[in-house]
Symmetry: C2
Subunit: 430 residues, 2 copies
């Protein structure tokens, strides 16, 4: 039984989970694989706080450089894009295998990190950076390696999915659910990274890059979060047979790649629509395998540790069989590198507007849409939503170009019958 020394930098929630998993289940890993990843060092600025895991004496230190120096496999769990980057580069430059869960760092600086890994022939693994405990990166890179990827739809932020699930179940509005989620620890005090969609965008950028062999980076992703979502939208969507989820969407249509993150109406009977609470799910459609879906916990101490320790084991197996970079951290293949701007995409749309309850309103609005070849698939206007002489009008469209929709909305905005900005959401008939 060959042992490999594992050093963790960052002894927070996930770091403690990884330490615990290595200590509790190291024997399982050894029996299954023939290698034992052994916890030999943990670095953190704070080594006095109790993390709920009893680690062997003498392995806690404030000296990250020492942990890097003395480990075979360095696990970066500091987070952020500054000092974490330095630790990873130091480890890679020293030829150490690296495991990280840092999606922001990868989305922003992936290419630089992979270049450093390549220079010294070191491994870099990052399964936990997307969808926590779900082995989606291994699935995409290895299990589905023979597929051209047509589409990926991912619910990849547990905080947003928890908020949307509660809004729908309880009929409570966004602000109230967010406040409660913060109280319960499901949302951060500063929730922007989650609810404004950036966290999902990081993960979307990573999956798109793996699918298409080009490290697109975070700026390539169009992002809308769930902050502006109103309960009325969830209720209307429900009535029309849809549920609203924050999706990371990746599509390749005729070699043109789109990457976007936004609240999306999906049919209630779709499996993705039934992924609730803090759970994550990623649907991958390949040209050979067809539709697949991967589901599990996207965050949390234990689930994230499961993915990190799987990576540690992969790194140890590579060291043991002298096959580092057997599957490289990232291989640029540029299968499809032509990106399509958001306004050029085609989608189905949900439009909700407050209009005056008087003759000719629907005629004026539908005329504008018709003039741009935007076809309506359903329309609802309820008497009961009457308010100040206004009614709520909801339209679903057939597929249309986004730029045509935006142009139509500009025309609708200046109509005298329309009293507030039109709410636009996109629909995916998964």
């Amino acid at each position: 039984m060959k042992e490999y020394k594992v050093g963790i930098i960052g002894f927070g929630t996930v770091g403690a989970g990884v330490a615990e998993n290595l200590l509790l289940n190291g024997d399982v890993i050894a029996k299954r694989t023939g290698v034992l990843p052994k916890l030999t060092g943990i670095a953190d600025l704070d080594i006095t706080t109790d993390r709920g895991v009893k680690v062997p004496d003498g392995i806690l230190t404030t000296d990250a450089a020492k942990v890097i120096r003395e480990s075979d496999i360095v696990v970066e769990l500091v987070g952020g894009t500054t000092i974490a980057k330095k630790f990873i580069l130091d480890a890679l430059n020293a030829g150490k295998s690296v495991v990280t869960a840092n999606k922001a760092l990868l989305a922003h600086y992936g290419e630089e990190l992979f270049a450093a890994a390549e220079k010294t022939g070191a491994d870099i693994f990052y399964e936990a950076s997307v969808a926590g405990g779900i082995p989606i990166i291994k699935a995409l890179r290895e299990g589905l390696v023979s597929n051209r990827i047509n589409k990926i739809f991912g619910i990849m932020n547990g905080t947003c999915n928890y908020i949307l699930t509660r809004m729908e179940r309880e009929g409570t509005d966004f602000a109230a659910v967010l406040a409660d989620a913060q109280k319960l620890g499901y949302a951060e005090a500063n929730p922007s990274l989650d609810i404004d969609g950036f966290d999902t965008a990081h993960k979307t950028a990573i999956l798109a890059s793996l699918a298409y062999g080009k490290w697109f980076g975070i700026d390539a992703v169009y992002v809308e979060g769930i902050r502006e979502l109103e309960l009325a939208d969830i209720v209307c969507a429900d009535e029309l047979g849809y549920r609203i989820k924050l999706l990371g969407i990746i599509k390749n249509e005729n070699g043109k790649v789109q990457m976007r993150v936004h609240p999306t109406l999906i049919p209630k009977e779709a499996l993705l629509a039934n992924i609730n609470d803090v759970f994550n799910g990623v649907m991958v459609e390949g040209d050979t395998v067809g539709q697949t879906l991967f589901y599990g916990r996207g965050a949390g101490r234990k689930a994230t540790a499961s993915a990190v320790v799987a990576d540690i084991t992969d790194a140890a197996l590579n060291l043991d069989s002298n096959s580092r970079c057997r599957v490289a951290g990232f291989t640029p293949g540029e299968l499809f590198d032509c990106q399509i701007p958001e306004e050029e995409i085609s989608s189905r749309y949900y439009l909700r507007m407050q209009v005056k309850d008087c003759p000719g309103v629907i005629a004026q609005i539908t005329q504008i849409l018709a003039s741009r070849s935007i076809s309506i698939s359903s329309l609802i206007q309820h008497e009961r939503s009457h308010r100040n002489g206004e009614v709520s009008l909801v339209l679903l469209t057939h597929p249309a170009l986004e730029k045509e929709i935006l142009a139509a909305l500009s025309e609708i905005a200046v109509l005298s019958v329309n009293s507030s900005p039109v709410k636009l959401l996109r629909i995916e008939d998964i």
Copy 2:
């Protein structure tokens, strides 16, 4: 770019799909991994029938031995447990890497094949043997390697899931749907392997062995198929909030392993209950990751090819990095090898019986259950199901020992109020 020679034995549906996938997407694999698996030989007794794929001249042959001799990676797609076994052993003995989709062969003779592989240090991969295109074996062995596996629930037979889905949707009985499925090609002329649960049992045996590090073999699995399932059961389950699926069930409770295949009531809101038609889904619950689920097509030319070609690529990567058996075909670890017999399991039960519509009937039946500490969680008896002075009585129980349930049913069987055998199904509150 290093090329590896791939030889296929068995040019049927899946063989043609694998050939097609290698020819169409070889470039994608090469870009992603740096190795090119190159189709160099195909052996079949019939090399004249058009399989819908144009293969390079000169690679079709009736000489399987030649294909084994001239390939780096031998792909066995003959099926069955006789000549297929010989081909695999010949290839392993010659030190060739082997890829197979043959669940029956593995379930029956896995240990012998793994021993042969170990002797020559050859690789043997079998992702396509369970749940077709879903990379569940890779997930279980690598992605979830750091988990002790508590439970696995799998919908792993597309034919059965198709039949059950249609029975429920259309309110049609088993025989009619089966006949139609046979006409449409979703069920074999001799459907026993699928509908009597044996195919699911093969897959259950393979997953259990991987989860617990002991090659249990097929005889260790308790098996009931869906042949005896009546529409009335599906309707009653629906009324009680459940859907019936043929599940492969693997559980470890306190180190005791149960493996069983039977129609199972699961709550309608469970993700598994929403996997319909020919699709498969496998839920794995690990001690660290919690619940995960993997979904996709479990059969068919293309989906199965996706898994086979992923294995071929893994084999090629191992050859390329000189790391054969980096993850061995099977590593006996005997994490939990104590198997629990079916009558010792504890479960919740669904009991449906035809009883006389007269005073004291429910009292007699519930008294028998109570005397064996079997507690009832719901009970329905409808006026409308009245027939020949009989009514249909459906009981759901709280968890009880199977042997107590069976003993109670023997007592109920001889009651004068009971007119036909009690229908017993098991419930899993996933």
